[in-house]
Symmetry: C2
Subunit: 409 residues, 2 copies
């Protein structure tokens, strides 16, 4: 497997030239367009491969982050989980195929680096970090009384009656404790997650395709398995269902609501954007791209319980509920060896560690890590070759904790 | 034909709902996706239908336009060309299916209105106004000595040797006086412009498709007809060729260069974006979308000979050359009944009227109109049902002149 340095998209010259050489062209319609190492170029260029909805920052001036860089962070040392040799923070960035990383301490930018395809004015795929944004909107609407968390899903979205979601509650969707027959094993080509992707793909369907043709149509095909509320099961379709619930309850898409309630009010530097299916539905479970510092602003908003730049954007109750965590016994059943004692709530991952840290997590290592005790936020974009955080957590989690302790020293 | 009011996309409820009703869905793959009145929704939503490249405004604060609205402009009266009855400015906006219009006088916003799909934070398809931005970049690079206007095209882009462009000069491309066998008659389904569109369409090609698969590949198929330099012929392929010349000369795409040299330096409020083909080539001849006020800023930059907010972005010589106009005799041969005495230079339309006015023009009425004598800029986005400015010029041109005279009164 190529190292971060050797798989750097600049070094591999993807899409460079007018036109690029044939073997350097990446097309959305290529079945391998997202294979490593091409994936390391794609994560910064989703919008030029597929249709997207903008998430506007509005027209006002950005609110710049104060900046006091502490390069001594580079030398912070930690021992990876299961490892025997210490590693430095600087080494961890390369090991995890980091594309950009920013650390805020008390809202001040104390560390920032870019690699690979990303720069300060670039936008990077957040993938499942998107879920935490959709979840935040969901918790906000629950706290505001717009959505009743005890309501059955089919009471809000009647089209889902009879599907696996129909008799689940909004709260079960928000915590991903729905009981569904649905496999999200990316390594299995027959897994349901690929049928979901095919339904949501905005390109015209191949001839002979007989499956569902939009995210919404796909959700209607998901069947129940077991009981709701019993176990945590990480399934992207829960977030897409939440997106549908939000759209139905507010009359606005997740993209429009995210701009209106958060992105246009938090002093963002850049617009974000979100991929859409063929009928314009934003991919609430994974389609968002944005700038790194704006992701750090989201972390700060969470750390400060819904207030940013002196303005309340999110009801405190919404964030308190997320930070309190979900059902740890239900989470335990999912069997994450590296995440013992964690839980999941409002589509955020709660560590329940001594610092009260919680995270948004994307499949190639994208993270927003909030450590309340250290008053620290880490925003990271990355493009790890392996599709699963188990591949980077042994380095990520102790590295993040070590920096928190360094800042608190 | 539906009126502006009755074809308003809000009223027709395109793409409203989660999901929208089947007959209200607009898909890029529908052959009629851009037919009127759907077109009036599409012009504000290109990015959610097709892949696009961002044209970043950078990360700094926008420079707001001073604002002193003069609603008396609404009552300005004029007589349409060929008409016998007077009309007011306010009436002209409806008659021309205006989506947004902004007037600057001495750089101050004196009039601004939005209709149809557009609002102040929206982005609208500029279509052939894109050509004037590409042309401006071309003239800038000529003025800076990066591109030799006397060079043969095939000396810069060897792939075009043997095509109709090969032995044309850069200047002939910039003035669209190339002699080409190429029809841009939108009403003829066999016209070359549709082959150009098929080549540039980013969707996978239909099975059996044997034509060129990118804008660049298409340009290589264009044949010469007649002599270069003899007559003006409005053909989008000239601008795409200019885009190729720019990319080859600078190593940067038109999108990247437009951001770097202009969009990120003019105090823009919003990012722009540009559609791309399947290999990521921006559509230099027509793919740009942006906010209305930012288009007005471009007009102001032209009016002030390359300076905006006290900063020079474009060499004065580049704009002086555009404003001086092109070969009027060559223009005359194209037979525009409504544009007697005009010329075309650097991909801008020069009126040669007493005010020295010049324009960028898009096919459904999009305009940037610069009137140096009145120190006035008009930026307009519109979505006229008819694909050709002959349909709106009889109202547009006297209306713009009347407002100029009103401001000078």
């Amino acid at each position: 497997m190529l190292s971060a340095e050797n798989s750097d998209p600049g070094r591999l010259e993807w899409m460079v030239g007018s036109p690029p050489p044939a073997d350097k062209i990446i097309r959305f319609s290529d079945p391998d367009f997202f294979n490593f190492p091409r994936s390391r170029w794609v994560v910064c260029h989703n919008r030029q491969l597929m249709p997207t909805l903008g998430v506007s920052r509005g027209l006002g001036a950005p609110v710049p982050l104060a900046r006091r860089i502490d390069w001594t962070i580079d030398a912070v040392r930690f021992t990876p989980i299961g490892g025997s040799r210490e590693m430095t923070w600087a080494q961890s960035l390369e090991a995890n195929y980091t594309d950009g990383i920013a650390i805020l301490r008390d809202g001040v930018l104390v560390f920032e680096r870019y690699f690979g395809c990303l720069g300060e004015a670039g936008q990077h795929a957040a993938m499942s970090v998107t879920k935490s944004l959709t979840g935040l909107l969901g918790e906000m609407l629950v706290a505001e009384g717009v959505i009743d968390e005890r309501a059955r899903v089919d009471a809000i979205v009647p089209e889902l009656a009879g599907s696996g979601f129909g008799d689940a509650t909004v709260r079960q969707v928000l915590e991903m404790t729905t009981g569904l027959r649905y496999s999200e094993d990316y390594a299995d080509p027959q897994a349901d997650v690929w049928l979901h992707a095919a339904a949501g793909n905005p390109l015209p369907k191949p001839s002979g395709y007989a499956g569902p043709r939009s995210y919404f149509d796909f959700l209607r095909t998901v069947r129940k398995e077991g009981e709701h509320g019993a176990a945590f099961g990480y399934r992207t379709v829960n977030t897409d269902t939440l997106g549908w619930i939000i759209a139905r309850a507010t009359g606005k898409s997740v993209a429009a609501l995210l701009s209106e309630r958060i992105w246009s009010r938090m002093g963002a530097e850049q617009d974000g954007y979100i991929s859409v299916d063929s009928i314009g539905t934003p991919f609430a479970g994974g389609g968002f791209s944005a700038g790194l510092r704006d992701m750090a602003r989201i972390g700060q908003l969470m750390l400060d319980n819904g207030v940013i730049n002196g303005q309340r954007l999110v009801p405190e109750a919404a964030i308190t509920r997320i930070r309190a965590g979900g059902d740890r016994a239900a989470f335990e059943k999912a069997g994450y060896a590296l995440l013992k004692g964690w839980s999941y709530r409002g589509m955020w991952w709660i560590t329940h560690n001594a610092h009260g840290a919680f995270m948004a997590r994307g499949v190639h290592g994208q993270s927003i890590y909030v450590d309340p005790a250290a008053r620290m936020v880490i925003a990271r974009f990355s493009s790890h070759p392996l599709a699963g955080n188990a591949a980077n957590d042994p380095i990520t989690l102790p590295a993040f904790e070590a920096v928190a302790n360094h800042l608190m020293r």
